[in-house]
């Protein structure tokens, strides 16, 4: 079986991609309107919603970037994972209920719809749509790039195609992504999320068991080896340092309430009473997946330090290298499929909200109505958006990486005040909302690009997204306190009182 490792991985990946196509076809009959396409007709059950949220959150970052961070920085990224439970409570309290209720009340299909209903303002709808679109383009491009790199590795190892080009892999992976996203819209997306989530959870548990077996003494021995080499890497802050760890805890803890690919899932829930178990189920799934993040990254660091494995060329190689070298071939195959699943589940969510921003939100904000025949336009724009993001991924060079890291912080800084706080606090007004969105773009992009002069390094390793979130929160809250509140529709006010 060991001799066929690469072939087994390829077969698992092909089986997974075929499953996605099957779900796309199955969802086609269930997608008859724009409401079906964007919010699954608001008829998702508890389990599907929980897994859709979990899968969209985890993404390729969780399976590749996370272990890479553990490998390169030691325990620092546990501050990101440390927010798993508390951030979900914050999401539940701040956004889940009101987002679900407002979206049902006003038949909203997107976050900008909800923002427009809450503030009674087309300008807020436009600014939220713009921030979503910019973030989506970056996130989507990085996800497409990530899934193409994974596919390239799988095809090359299996020897099916000699030196497969990245462009070819982008074409293959995007074709599958576009197929099920176009045919089934968000319905296909969330049901593939369920499959993807289940694969991720099961695979993570088995991989963690493998991690424990890499050293006699398991995790404790791994910690000892890492600490003996560098005490910081095994301490509570890792190498990013004390303030850097705390900043991650802040931006990931509160910032999750502004991530559109996650919170829009609450708009799709069938009944409010099902919200009761959505968060606990999602958190349990995420906790299992976190085992892979911590286990692989930490084990690879110890393996390299102890001389059991040569140093890796890049931190992101930690996960693929561990899987190819230390896990059973069948498990490696499943995990590679899970890896692709994690990336695609996030990509399809972004594709969906990006499409909504282009064909529904911006036209509504600019000309007062959406495009006619929304379902047909939704499908056309899904294809065009995916192709645009693929081109950005292939040809934009460093811009794709910049846009990718730009995403989370921008969404957090732009949407936490406007959506999460705004849906709860009636004094929040239109001026504050627009200023918060503008500051999120300016501060994030300014700090990361230095407006052409290179990335600005903040003291003690503090994350740019945390700084942007603080600036936008301070501006949003102080402007709302200092200026007159705007009138709010009576029905929205009453929902805000529930």
């Amino acid at each position: 079986m060991e001799a066929n490792r690469a072939l087994i991985t390829l077969l698992a990946v092909i089986a997974y991609l075929a499953l996605c196509v099957g779900v796309g076809l199955w969802s086609l009959r269930r997608t008859r309107s724009a409401s079906d396409f964007f919010v699954a007709g608001r008829r998702l059950g508890m389990f599907v919603t929980a897994f859709a949220i979990f899968s969209s959150t985890m993404s390729g970052f969780g399976f590749v970037g996370g272990p890479g961070l553990m490998y390169s920085m030691g325990t620092s990224s546990i501050w990101i994972l440390g927010t798993i439970v508390i951030s979900n409570i914050i999401v539940l309290n701040l956004v889940a209920k009101r987002l679900r209720l407002v979206s049902e009340l006003r038949e909203c299909v997107s976050l900008p719809d909800v923002a427009a209903a809450r503030y009674g303002s087309e300008s807020v709808r436009a600014s939220v749509a713009v921030v979503i679109l910019l973030g989506v383009l970056g996130y989507l491009a990085t996800q497409i790039l990530a899934m193409s790199i994974v596919l390239q590795g799988v095809l090359a190892d299996a020897g099916v195609i000699e030196n497969p080009s990245l462009a070819l892999c982008v074409a293959i992976s995007c074709s599958v992504l576009i197929f099920y996203s176009v045919t089934g819209g968000i319905v296909a997306s969330v049901y593939t999320d369920v499959i993807q989530g289940a694969i991720m959870v099961v695979a993570s548990v088995f991989v963690f068991v493998t991690v424990l077996g890499t050293f006699d003494g398991g995790l404790a021995e791994i910690s000892r080896i890492v600490a003996a080499d560098d005490r910081a890497a095994s301490g509570p802050w890792g190498t990013i340092g004390l303030m850097g760890g705390l900043a991650w805890f802040f931006v990931f803890g509160i910032g999750v309430a502004g991530q559109p690919h996650i919170i829009t899932k609450f708009m799709m829930l069938r009944r409010m009473k099902e919200l009761r178990y959505v968060i606990p189920v999602g958190v349990i799934a995420y906790s299992f997946a976190a085992l892979l993040w911590i286990g692989i990254g930490f084990a690879m660091r110890a393996l390299v330090i102890s001389g059991a494995h040569p140093a890796l060329a890049t931190p992101d190689a930690a996960s693929p290298t561990f899987l190819q070298t230390f896990t059973h071939p069948l498990l490696a195959g499943v995990v590679f499929a899970a890896l692709l699943a994690a990336i695609m589940s996030t990509a399809d969510a972004f594709l969906n909200i990006g499409t909504a921003a282009i064909m529904h939100d911006l036209p509504n904000a600019i000309r007062g109505r959406s495009l006619g025949n929304e379902l047909a336009w939704a499908r056309v724009i899904t294809v065009l958006l995916a192709i645009s993001a693929a081109l950005v991924a292939l040809y934009s060079g460093d811009l794709v990486a910049l846009l990718g890291v730009f995403g989370w912080g921008t969404f957090a800084a732009g949407l936490v005040p406007v959506i999460a706080i705004g849906l709860n606090w009636k004094r929040a007004n239109i001026l504050a909302a627009n200023v918060a969105v503008a500051s999120s773009l300016l501060v994030n992009f300014g700090l990361r690009s230095g407006f052409g002069f290179g990335t600005v390094r903040l003291p003690y390793g503090v994350d740019h997204g945390a700084a942007a979130l603080l600036v936008s929160l301070v501006l949003f809250l102080s402007i709302s306190f200092l200026t007159k509140p705007d009138p709010i529709d009576r029905d929205i006010q009453r929902v805000m009182e529930l």
């Binding site: 209920k97 390299v304 003291p459 301070v474 029905d491 929902v495 009182e497 529930l498």
Partner: protein, 197 residues
């Protein structure tokens, strides 16, 4: 202006506002919470701006001497940050989370007091982690459940302790958060378009 779900604006003709809007009925509790949130954010932003102005904290992790691109930390992971600033930043940051965790519950429900009490314990857990780090920095490498002692407090303490309020919220969901009473009121809002029915 009675309205039912059937009359709701369709997707294609959705507009921001169906009515001119009413003056807001402010909620003093929420406004107090937002004032606290603003104060905490000002403290955190102020700390950051002072550090930027002072040119502090420019050091970062270094490439591992033998295994780059792996990184190694500086002075055990503190990166030169003053301890007092870490206490202030950590507690203020937990404060922002505390504020956001108090929103969304029915007024007067015991869950708000429970969250307050739990948060006191959570802040203490953070303080214990900081103390534990002092011992670790001094050379103690005790391993607890697979991690060094302060890292264990992060993994099994700060990460998992919020399960207590999460389970409490799940258990008290209908009484504290959204139950049949709220559902009935919501249905009435949908039916009456926000009027008092």
């Amino acid at each position: 202006m009675a309205r039912s779900r059937a009359d709701a604006p369709g997707v294609a003709n959705f507009r921001a506002s169906r009515t001119p809007g009413d003056p807001i009925r402010d909620n003093a509790y929420m406004t107090r919470l937002m004032a606290v949130l603003l104060a905490l954010c000002v403290i955190l932003l102020g700390l950051l701006l002072v550090a930027v102005a002072a040119g502090a904290g420019r050091a970062g992790p270094l490439p591992h001497p033998d295994h780059a691109p792996m990184l190694v930390g500086i002075d055990g992971g503190e990166l030169g940050a003053p301890t007092w600033a870490a206490y202030v930043a950590g507690i203020a940051m937990l404060g922002t989370m505390w504020v956001t965790m108090l929103i969304g519950f029915r007024e007067g429900h015991w869950i708000r007091r429970a969250v307050n009490a739990w948060m006191v314990g959570y802040v203490l857990l953070f303080v214990v982690l900081m103390w534990s780090f002092d011992a670790y920095a001094a050379g103690d490498t005790t391993i607890v459940l697979g991690f060094t002692a302060p890292t264990s407090l992060l993994v099994y303490g700060l990460t998992l302790a919020p399960w207590i309020p999460l389970l409490a919220i799940t258990w008290a969901f209908e009484n504290a958060y959204f139950g049949p009473r709220e559902q009935a009121r919501f249905d009435e809002i949908v039916d009456t378009g926000g009027g008092e029915g």
